[in-house]
Symmetry: C2
Subunit: 136 residues, 2 copies
DNA sequence: TCTAATCAATAGCAATTTAATATAGATTAA
DNA sequence: TTAATCTATATTAAATTGCTATTGATTAGA
């Protein structure tokens, strides 16, 4: 599973916020320069994270963005679930028309278990953990 | 993570082969009709599965395809690894230019652990398990 | 009160990937 | 010989991704 830029940039954005929170809200321009990510694309990612109440923002001059909660309480899994986006189960493995198993389809159940195991691992790691260690 | 058609069709194809192996090799046209998947697209998937030695084929009239090994020895995880395709780790989370962690990047390590957990779950389920229960 | 710095929302677009189709051919049982 | 099959590759259409552009709202500070 290749990591898409929404996930990659999303994580770097949050770690950047955690590491630069000391002097008030962090302007998106600063993040853009530090992380070398297009300003306008960053704004879209921030918008997503705001809707999910992971980030909040201060408008106007000297405004910027900051984590909406303690970095100990934001998990890697939260971000990937949000940024990965693609509905985990829009599509069934089998043919819905002929499959009599429906919600008990062993293929879909196994897939779901695997996904749960995946996110369970990611949920062990917080932004605080990462910001202390990453890219320093 | 949405399941792509290569993975979905690939699994249905193998389950179909397992369930229709009795009277010799299974022609792709039969699978196409039963599964309602384009014949030419199926052929491409079969090509991939042949290269991975999961399927083998008999050419000419009355030819067809069959599993290259016992359905107990082909795992869900094998197929997803093959069909998902997208290199699991072409792209690093961090900026390679500035990241001093490289192979020890805690972001990448956590991601890798999560992927391992994901495939580990899928490797618990064989085509035999599925073919006995699926879409009957 | 201005105004420059910032965030906000959405539209548009180019590149890539995915999914599927088309074409031409090789093989072989009957 | 031939019809049924697999093989290989090229092409195309649709969807998604990653990004850019435009317009506008908000507000701290001069």
């Amino acid at each position: 599973m290749k990591v898409n830029t929404r996930c990659r940039y999303g994580m770097r954005l949050l770690i950047d916020l955690a590491n630069n929170a000391k002097e008030g809200p962090v302007p998106v321009g600063d993040i853009s320069k530090r992380q070398n990510i297009s300003l306008k694309y960053l704004e879209q990612l921030i918008h997503l994270l705001k809707k999910a109440r992971i980030i909040d923002s201060v408008r106007g001059a000297r405004g910027g963005h900051r984590l909406a909660k303690n970095s100990n309480d934001i998990y890697f899994g939260d971000i990937i679930r949000l940024m990965e986006g693609r509905g985990d189960f829009e599509e069934c493995f089998c043919r819905k028309e002929i499959c009599k198993m429906q919600d008990y389809c062993p293929l879909n159940l196994a897939w779901q278990k695997a996904l749960d195991a995946f996110y369970h691992e990611l949920d062990k790691v917080s932004i605080a953990d990462l910001s202390k260690k990453c890219c320093k």
